[in-house]
């Protein structure tokens, strides 16, 4: 199999895994087996995967409150994630993180984040490490449209440009920050222009289209790796669920989501494209879907069977050294 074929298999595997993961989390949360504040990523898969397919082991990403998709795309262990959401000892963060703080630095995932915009300074740091230690790595900050108005984000734009850091700021404009539309909250309405106002180029792409995202991400990543500094990648997309589990999303026009699901689903688009282009076969796709479904099932069973963290863990891990 060629590298490209392999890439496509992987991309489809990851996008499917994210979708099935989120659907299952939705159900488990409804059943009451997953506690806490949950923000689902379903609908935006092409963004996380399109970008992360351009990244390797030495690269870092920082994520948001809506972090499951980025974590999976960057290579976090799905079973460990499922354990985490079930608040079990075998969780990716031993049950201390939950949905909003999942991280695995060993695969370059610096964490979901409960503070909007907070990942942006952090990737400046990861990029500084890459630059100082000459690892060749880059650092990517995923954020939402709402985050693009946050102080931390904007200050980081400038710092990354001044320090010429290998950073890619990825804005996933899914139309809303909670109940507030991005068309209202982003002054001027044009984040490419905003990026340019800080002296970095912006690339935009259709976030429903894996191939478009991947191509644009490739440019931004190459630029960063080349030592040419940061850039912004602006992706339009949508989320299928409410802002968090429990949000009725009445601020969206009636039928808005359904129409997008039908016409612009990133997984369907991917499938049509690879089938039409003869890049993957229907069997291959089905095989991956089955494999993923199985993995998600197993992960839930495994999570349910796992023990809760021992109460003694309450006071461990506050410090590395005491």
């Amino acid at each position: 199999m060629s590298r490209r074929d392999n890439q496509l298999r992987q991309a489809f595997w990851k996008m499917t895994a994210i979708r099935r993961f989120e659907e299952r989390v939705h159900l488990e949360n409804e059943k009451g087996s997953i506690p806490g504040f949950i923000h689902l990523y379903a609908g935006q898969e092409a963004c996380a995967v399109g970008v992360c397919m351009e990244l390797g082991e030495r690269d870092y990403i920082a994520s948001t409150h809506r972090g499951h998709g980025h974590a999976i795309a960057k290579g976090c262990d799905i079973t460990a994630m499922m354990h985490e959401l079930h608040a079990k000892q075998g969780g990716i963060c031993a049950g201390k993180a939950g949905s909003m703080h999942m991280a695995d630095l060993t695969v370059g995932m610096m964490g979901a984040n409960g503070i909007v915009g907070a990942g942006n300074p952090l990737v400046c740091g990861a990029a500084l490490t890459a630059k100082t230690r000459k690892t060749g790595g880059v650092a990517v900050s995923f954020m939402g449209d709402g985050a693009s108005n946050q102080a931390a984000t904007l200050e980081s734009f400038n710092l990354a440009v001044v320090w010429k850091l290998p950073v890619i700021f990825v804005v996933e404009d899914n139309g809303y920050a909670e109940a507030t539309p991005s068309s209202w909250s982003i002054g001027g309405g044009d984040l490419i222009k905003r990026a340019e106002g800080f002296g970095m180029p912006g690339f935009s792409a259709d976030g429903f289209d894996y191939f478009a995202v991947n191509e644009a991400a490739g440019k931004a990543v190459a630029r960063a790796r080349n030592g040419d500094g940061p850039s912004l990648l602006y992706l339009t997309c949508t989320r299928y669920y409410g802002h968090f589990e429990g949000d009725a999303a009445t601020y969206r026009a009636r039928g808005e989501v359904e129409e997008l699901m039908e016409k612009r689903d990133c997984l369907s688009a991917f499938k049509s494209r690879v089938l039409a282009g003869g890049m993957m076969s229907a069997d291959e796709l089905a095989g991956i879907e089955a494999e993923v479904a199985d993995l998600i099932d197993t992960s839930v069973r495994s999570a349910v069977a796992d023990v809760e963290p021992d109460v003694s863990r309450l006071t461990t891990d506050v410090y590395a050294t005491y």
Binding site: P35, G114, A151, Y176
Partner: protein
Amino acid sequence: MARKTYREAINQALDQEMARDDRVILIGEDIAGGTGASGAQDAWGGVMGVTKGLIGKYGPERVLDTPISELALVGAGAGAAATGLRPVVELMFNDFLGVCLDQLMNQAAKFRYMFGGRVRAPLVVRTQYGAGLRAAAQHSQTLYSIFAHIPGLKVAVPSNPYDAKGLLMSAIRDDDPVIFMEHKAMYDDIGEVPDEAYTVPFGEGRVLQEGKDVTVIAIGRMLQTAEKAIQAARADGIRCSLVDPRTISPLDEGLILEMAAETGRVVIVDEANPRCGVAADIASLICEQAFGDLQAPVVKVTAPHTPVPFAPVLEDAYLPSAERIAAAIKQVRAY
């Protein structure tokens, strides 16, 4: 008297103050929700639905949705307060004070002092605190000790719907910046709340019950847990007083000292982290000012010095429990 939730009590305080004084405005993220959207307007009324319905009554000029920009909007509140409005800013979670502290600590809190007493900054910042909803480390903190540390801020921590309404009305009428702490796990708590406007004064604590053996002082939602512990202690024949300071800055030092002196045995309950927290603050007050009356060490029951964990089993252990409080009561009684 009507029964209302903590949420409804707060909503009514806002409503009545907005009706009374057109300088009162609300600012916050999705406090209406749907601004500029094609779907429903007032779609949220805040993440917990506390401000629901107010935009309908007072319009978008007085109920302002915002971009996600706490620093700018808390600062805008401070600036508006100094120039003639009486803004009530919602900081969705107190954990976000990390992104807007400057405008509170170095601006609003210090205006009056720095400017030689020649300005007023009637700003209210409403915010949610507290653990218990499995919201993990960045959405479960109890940070009022930081606010109380800062001269120029006042800090109210209502423990029930009645106080929530009365303290919020006081806060809005107060000419100083006030941080108003709402516990996120209390919004559905129900209590007697008069329909008419009333204020609960700042700096006046309340004695919920009197007992001769031990004085329990608890903050915010911990009053409820303390009540359970006191109940349990009663089975062992121990009678406790229970004190709710209601505002931690100003603090009703007189009442606290008096109640401490009465029993000579004190337990302080607070769900914040212990180091430099308000429990330590109150304990040190008692030890300095009521030392001669003390019969036993002043014992603090607080969260441990850890972030708030996600796993329910850990979070439950994090929060002061009725058992731990009851044990502390027994301990000081037996000392």
